[in-house]
């Protein structure tokens, strides 16, 4: 029934679909189902939200299945009341070095100016290595106040003295982050870093150019070396290309086995490289230009691609997205303050502001990655009931189980070497 399907798409990420239907039957029975109630019920899966769950469920159980946004706003006070919303004013310029197109333009623009008194200046990099090189060569004089490294790279950045410790008194809103996203291996006490958001890797393809489904990394390789050859873009990072090979062959992408790496090199350089059109970490814009027919992409960028295709006059329905399978990546990017930052006060104020639920969700709607706020489903229902393509942002437990975090191993240099050979070969 379409009425039932629609609220699920709008309100709840697809990741909760299984849970939803099961619980719907168990708890309330088919029929008059308060959508937000369902969401809240799922929300109780996350550890820190049991208190608000009951309230939300109570207050919205009577709302009709399609009127979920009304139901949400009725419960507004109770949900948002659970979050810390401290906003510290600051001043001056804040220079951020981050991944491309990674924040809502107003959050790094007017809004930061109006609400915090900070003028933002943003510069972009395409890989963690770029960031580390920039910071290490500048020796504390890079001039950046906020950087956004991926988790596994943080220990070496700390070891090289590239980051400074947070002043936790200025980050009151850190309590809003859901516990699974705090205290990661790379920084167990969040001394240096706090989750910006996390996501995964998959691909999107033009169904008018490529017949058949691309359901796994194996299919991806088949299509890339076949129908899509010469029109393929891959992420401009060494590990993602290795990941593609490893997951297609049932290997661990953190492998240090030299025989496996040799085999990976042989395949990637000799067989795969020639098919690559571009190494592109943010293919969404060029997908809209029509430059690629198959692109490896991070979920948020792929989600943006659909609206960009429409903006460019194309038909987004021609394109499909799939999450990497049978295994894929789980990455988490983190806000950090580099050593020698000229304006750490503004950096703290801005990061803390990003950890308020309203700003976090506003940002999430733009970049399309899970920002890790606690009780996320209820928060989305409340603040962004018309969020589109939520299934590209929130993943099911089953999907999350298939995701693996990168480890920095002794093979790091070897992987970089392989990648550079692939790059050189792709041009030849």
């Amino acid at each position: 029934m379409s009425a039932k399907q629609e609220p699920v798409r709008i309100l709840a990420p697809h990741s909760f679909r299984d849970v939803l239907s099961r619980r719907a039957l168990l708890q309330i029975g088919a029929g008059s189902v308060g959508l937000t109630a369902l969401l809240a019920a799922c929300g109780s899966d996350s550890k820190s939200s049991s208190g608000s769950t009951a309230e939300t469920a109570g207050s919205t159980a009577t709302s009709g299945s399609t009127a979920s946004s009304t139901g949400g706003s009725a419960a507004a006070g109770s949900i948002l009341g659970d979050y810390s919303t401290v906003v510290n004013k600051s001043s001056g310029t804040l220079a951020m070095y981050t991944w491309g197109d990674y924040n809502d333009p107003s959050i790094v623009g007017d809004l930061a100016d109006n609400e915090l008194g900070i003028t933002m200046k943003v510069d972009y990099y395409a890989s963690n290595e770029d960031l580390i090189t920039k910071l290490s060569t500048a020796n504390g004089n890079s001039g950046f106040d906020v950087v956004v490294p991926t988790g596994p790279y943080i220990p070496q950045m700390i070891a090289k003295g590239l980051l400074q410790k947070f002043d936790k008194s200025k980050l009151a809103n850190i309590v809003n982050v859901d516990t699974p996203y705090l205290g990661q291996d790379w920084d167990p006490t969040n001394e240096y870093s706090v989750c910006k958001d996390w996501g995964s890797t998959g691909w999107m393809w033009d169904t008018t150019k490529i017949k058949g489904d691309i359901a796994s990394w194996k299919d991806f390789i088949t299509a890339a070396t076949g129908e899509a050859s010469g029109n393929v873009s891959v992420l401009d990072t060494a590990v993602n290309l290795l990941g593609m090979y490893c997951w297609a062959n049932g290997l661990d992408w953190n492998t240090e086995d030299s025989a496996e790496l040799d085999a990976a090199e042989k395949f990637l350089v000799d067989e795969f490289a020639a098919n690559i059109k571009a190494f592109d970490s943010y293919p969404s814009t060029k997908i809209a230009e029509g430059a690629y027919t198959l692109s490896m992409a991070w979920n948020g960028d792929a989600r943006q691609a659909f609206s960009r295709i429409a903006d460019a006059g194309g038909n987004p329905d021609d394109w499909k997205w799939a999450l990497g399978s049978p295994d894929t990546e789980l990455w988490m990017d983190n806000y950090c303050i580099p050593a020698g930052a000229p304006n750490p006060d503004a950096a703290h104020a801005w990061i803390n502001w990003l950890l308020t639920p309203q700003i976090s969700v506003k940002d999430l709607q733009y970049h399309g990655y899970n920002s890790g706020m606690k009780n996320m489903p209820a928060l989305i229902a409340e603040l962004a009931p018309d969020l589109t393509l939520g299934d590209m942002i929130f993943f099911s437990d089953e999907q999350v189980k298939s995701m693996h975090t990168q480890k920095i191993t002794s093979a790091q240099d070897r992987i970089a070497d392989i990648y550079n050979k692939v790059k050189a070969k792709a041009g030849g």
């Binding site: 890989s127 290595e129 770029d130 580390i132 090189t133 920039k134 290490s136 060569t137 020796n139 090289k160 873009s233 060494a238 350089v269 490289a273 690559i276 059109k277 571009a278 190494f279 592109d280 060029k286 809209a288 230009e289 029509g290 430059a291 460019a312 006059g313 194309g314 790091q412 240099d413 970089a416 070497d417 990648y419 550079n420 050979k421 790059k423 050189a424 070969k425 792709a426 041009g427 030849g428």
Partner: protein, 286 residues
């Protein structure tokens, strides 16, 4: 002089020193100089990297030739054929585009070249081409844009050289019975030679090191050496290999220029000798 040492010699010296080191990513400057070797040069010469190398030189040579072929008629026209009052306007038209950022001008090429772009759609509607334009992310795109980006640097020195040629010389040539072609070949072109040389220097060297054009338009196929060096330094944090490639590139550019200079001076010397003989004969006979 101090300026020269500080900002040119010293950095290049560092690059040369680094090129003999080994990679050590645990350090801030990831170079280990404890056991210097030629290892990086060996790797830089390996087939994988060498293809990018030759591709870069090829792009730069073709582009330089094209800028001469396109630029010379323009400069000639400006210097000899255009009325005085229009000359300043036309020169301004050539210079003004370079007031825009190099990057923006390069990025702008993405619009007409985009497969789903307006131009592509029109051309298909009119039946000029059968499929969408598929030039972006190829070497052709880099080649087109690089000629466009550096054309101004060729036209200006050419114009200056041609403009300096006194009109009386060309008139004298005609008085002495030379036709248009002979005048061009034996008066205008030799006197414009220094302009061509300056133009070649001003375009060929930066083209070899060009990083923006290849990165913005080249994709994987149009990769040039600048982007490769960049990815060695930044991506792979392999400064020694990046340095070795850079040193080789400097060497290669100098070598190409040396060969070019030899050819030019050689032909000039030959021509001059022949001419002298001619004049001598004229002197004797009269």
């Amino acid at each position: 002089m101090i300026w020269y040492v500080l900002f040119f010699i010293v950095p290049i010296a560092f690059i040369v020193v680094y090129s003999f080191g080994a990679k050590d990513s645990s350090q801030r400057i990831p170079v280990d100089l404890s056991s210097p070797s030629f290892h990086n040069y060996g790797e830089a010469f390996s087939k994988t990297f060498f293809t990018t190398f030759t591709a870069t030189i090829k792009i730069a040579v073709v582009a330089t030739v094209l800028t001469v072929v396109i630029g010379f008629p323009v400069a000639y026209f400006l210097a000899f054929k255009v009325q005085e009052k229009w000359r300043a306007v036309l020169l301004a038209l050539i210079i003004v585009p370079s007031f825009t950022s190099f990057l923006i001008r390069t990025l702008a090429w993405r619009i007409p070249l985009a497969p789903n772009g307006t131009l592509s759609t029109w051309l298909q509607d009119w039946g000029v081409i059968s499929g969408p334009i598929s030039v972006l992310e190829t070497r052709t795109a880099v080649q087109i844009a690089i000629v466009y980006n550096y054309l101004g640097f060729m036209i200006l020195p050419l114009f200056v050289a041609l403009d300096r040629i006194e009109g009386v010389l060309r008139e004298a040539s005609k008085d002495l019975g030379a036709g248009r072609i002979a005048t061009f070949m034996r008066v205008t072109l030799p006197l414009g030679g220094p302009g061509i040389a300056a133009g070649v220097l001003l375009t060929f060297i930066p083209m070899c090191g060009d990083y923006v054009t290849a990165t913005v338009l080249g994709g994987a196929k149009g990769n040039m050496i600048g982007a490769l060096i960049d990815s060695q330094f930044k991506g792979a944090q392999n400064w020694p290999l990046g340095s070795a490639i850079a040193v080789l590139m400097i060497g290669a550019v100098l070598a190409v220029l040396a060969v070019g200079a030899l050819v030019v001076f050689g032909t000039q010397a030959v021509l001059r000798r022949r001419r002298r003989v001619d004049i001598g004969l004229v002197g004797v006979s009269s």
